[in-house]
C-alpha cells in the first residue's frame, strides 16, 4: 500500500475529501457573515442561531406541514430570511451609527434568546431528520465510502457560493450595494433606497445561514446548540479570509476544512485548535486577512 508521511494513501485521500465536505459548510456560513459585515458593518453573532433556526424550520415544515426536504431547502431560507428582515428593522438598524461592539453584543444576546427559546420547547438532545430518499446510499470510491448526501452538500454549497459571488460582483444590484457600502449618502442622492437595500442584504445573509442549516439537518443532530458549535470556527474563517471579503471567505472556508481534515489524521487532539493557530499566524503576517484590504 502506498504511504504518504507514514499514513496509508487511501486514508489520506479520504480525509482530504471529508475536509472539502466540511469546508463547504464553513464556506456557506462565512459567506453570509462576510456579506453582512461587508455591507452593514455588523458582526453578526446571531448567525449560528439563525443557522440552527434553518434546521429547525426544515424539521417543523416536515412534521407540522408534511413538507419535505426539497421544498424546505427553498422555504426555510425564505422564512428565516424574513425573520432576519424583522430583526434588522426592529433592532439592528438602530445601531448603525454606534461602535461595532454594540452590534456584537446585541446579536450575541439575540443568539442566546433564540437558542434558549428553542431549547425550552424542543429539549436539548435534538430531533431526527432523515436524508431525502433520492440522496440515500453511498458510493464506494475504492479508498473510502462517500455518502451521496455529502457529495450533494459540496455541490449545493459551490453553486450557492458562485451565485452569491456573481450577484455581488457582476450585477447592477451588486454594484449599487458595493457603492452604498463605500458612500451611502452619495448613493442615496441618486434616488436609490439604501436602507431598504441594507435590510434585504441582511435578510439574504440570514437566508444563506438558514440554507446551510437545512443542508446540515440530515447529518448533524438538529439541536439548539448546533449553531453555537459552528459559529466560533466560522468567525475564525471570516477573520482569516479578511473581514467582509466574499472570495476570501469561500476560499478560506474550503481551505480550512482541508487543513482541519488533515489534522484529524496526524494529531486528532489538535483538530479543534488548528484553525485558531492558523488565524493567529495569518493575523500576525497579514492583519487584514488573506484577502482583506487594509483600511
Amino acid at each position: 500500500m502506498m504511504m504518504i508521511l507514514g499514513i496509508p494513501a487511501p486514508l489520506l485521500f479520504g480525509q482530504l475529501l471529508l475536509g472539502v465536505v466540511n469546508g463547504a459548510f464553513y464556506a456557506l456560513m462565512s459567506l453570509g457573515l462576510a456579506i453582512i459585515f461587508g455591507m452593514l458593518n455588523i458582526v453578526n453573532f446571531a448567525h449560528g442561531a439563525l443557522f440552527m433556526l434553518g434546521a429547525f424550520t426544515a424539521w417543523g415544515l416536515l412534521n407540522y406541514a408534511g413538507i419535505g426536504y426539497w421544498w424546505a431547502l427553498l422555504l426555510a431560507p425564505l422564512i428565516v430570511g424574513a425573520f432576519g428582515v424583522l430583526l434588522e428593522r426592529l433592532f439592528i438598524s438602530k445601531l448603525y451609527k454606534l461602535d461595532h461592539l454594540y452590534g456584537l453584543l446585541l446579536t450575541f444576546g439575540l443568539a442566546l434568546i433564540l437558542e434558549g427559546l428553542v431549547r425550552n420547547y424542543y429539549g436539548s438532545s435534538g430531533l431526527p431528520y432523515r436524508i431525502p430518499s433520492q440522496l440515500q446510499g453511498a458510493q464506494n470510491l475504492g479508498f473510502m465510502i462517500m455518502p451521496n448526501y455529502r457529495g450533494w452538500v459540496v455541490l449545493a454549497a459551490i453553486v450557492m457560493c458562485v451565485i452569491t459571488w456573481l450577484v455581488i460582483e457582476k450585477t447592477s444590484i451588486g454594484a449599487k450595494l458595493r457603492a452604498a457600502t463605500e458612500n451611502a449618502p452619495l448613493v442615496q442622492s441618486f434616488g436609490i433606497n439604501v436602507p431598504l437595500m441594507i435590510t434585504l442584504t441582511y435578510g439574504a445573509g440570514v437566508a444563506l445561514a438558514a440554507f446551510a442549516g437545512v443542508l446540515a439537518a440530515p447529518i448533524y443532530s438538529v439541536n439548539p446548540n448546533m449553531g453555537a458549535n459552528f459559529i466560533i470556527v466560522v468567525f475564525a474563517v471570516v477573520v482569516i479570509g479578511g473581514m467582509g471579503s466574499i472570495l476570501g471567505s469561500i476560499v478560506t472556508g474550503f481551505g480550512l476544512g482541508i487543513v482541519e481534515g488533515l489534522t484529524r489524521v496526524f494529531y486528532p487532539e489538535g483538530s479543534a485548535t488548528v484553525i485558531f493557530v492558523v488565524m493567529v499566524i495569518v493575523l500576525l503576517a497579514r492583519p487584514a486577512g488573506l484577502f482583506g484590504r487594509a483600511h
Binding site: L11, S124, G126, S271, A272, T273
Partner: protein, 410 residues
Amino acid sequence: MRLSRRSLLGSAAGLGAAAALTVPARAQQPAIKVGVLTDMSGPYQDLAGPGSIAATQLVASEFMAANPGARVEIVSADHQNKADIAAGTARQWFDRDGVDVIIDLSNSAVALAVSGIGREKNKAVIATGAATSDISGRACNANTVHWVYDTYMLAKSTGGAMVKAGGDSWFFLTADYAFGHALERDVSDFVRNAGGRIVGSVKTPFPGTTDFSSFLIQAQASRAKVLGLANAGTDTINCIKQAKEFGVSNSMKVAGLLVFLSDVHALGLDVCQGLILSESFYWDQNDRTRAFSSRYSPRMQGKRPSMVQAGNYACVLHYLKAAKEMGYAQAKADGAAAIAMMKKLPADDDCFGPGIIREDGRKIHPSYLYEVKKPSESEGAYDYYKTLASTPAEEAFRPLSAGVCSLVKT
C-alpha cells in the same frame, strides 16, 4: 420551578385538609423537603431535567396519599452543569431553605461537589444522574448514596458482553476529557480481561466537535470489530448518525457506552438499529416498570422515563420510607442517620425491584444489556429495546473489596 412547588404545596395542603376532616386528632408531621438539582437547560435536560422533577412529584403525591399526615415538599433548580453554581444552590438550600435531601445531580462534577457539602452540613445527598464511580469509591461519604448506574457498571455490562458475543477487537472514539478517558480505560480493562484487544483509539476534541466522519473513517480502516463510543449526549448522537451514513455500522458493531432512552428517541430507530447499550432501567422491562411508566407519562406529555428519572422516583421513595421508619423529625435533623437507615432497610420499588444500598453508598440492582430494535420490530414510540443479557445485582457493580471507599472496613 416556583409553580410546581406551589401546586405541590397546594395538593399537600388539600391532602392535609382531607385528613383533618376524617382524623381530627392526627398530629402534624414536619415536612420533608426534597431538592431536585438537575440540568434544566443543557445537554442532559431530556434524560433528567423536567422529567426528574415530574418523577419526584409523582412519588411525593403517592407517598402522601399512602401515609396520611406525611408531608413532602419539592424545590428544584438548574445546576447548569457548573459545579460552582450547584455548590452555591446546595448551600442555600441546606442553610436557608431547610432542604433535607438533594437528588438527581446529573453531572459528575456537580455530584461530587454537592456530596461534599451534604457531608459538611450533615444532610442527605442521592446522586442518580452522575456517572463517575468515585461517588462510591475514593470520594464516598456517610451522607451520600449513588443510585442507578456508574462507569464501572456500564463498562462491565457493555464491554464484557460484547467480547463474549465475538466482538474481540475494539476501536474507541473518546471525548477528550476526564469522563471519556475514564470510560475508555474502564471498558478497555474489561475487554482485555475477557480476552479481547484494543486496536486503537482517537481522542476527539471536546466540546466543539460536530463532524466525526474523519474519525469514523479511521476507525473503519482499523478493521476492528467493535466501535466503542466513550462519549455522551450530542457527541454520541452525532457519532451514531454519521456512523450509519458512512456505512461504519455495517462493518463494525457500534457500542454506545453511555446512551439513554432519550438519545435513541432523538435519533430514531432507522439510525439507531443494532446499537448495543447498557441501562439499569427500561420502562418496558416488566409489569412493575410498565406500571410506573404509565403513572409517569401523563405528567410528561406521554414521554417515557429515562433510567435517571426512574432513579429519582425510586430513591425518594426509599428515603421517605427510611424517614418514616426513624421519624421525620429525626431524619431532618441528621442526614447521616437517614442515609444509615436507608442502608439498613431493604429497598423495593417499581423501577429497580428489590435491592440494597451497600455500606459504601452504592445502590445495587441488576443491569441489562440491550440492543436497539429495527424499525420493523418496534410497535411505536418508545418501543425501542430488546434485552440481550442481564447481570445480577451482586455482580453488576464494582465489588466492595475493589473500591477505595474509606467507609468500608477491611
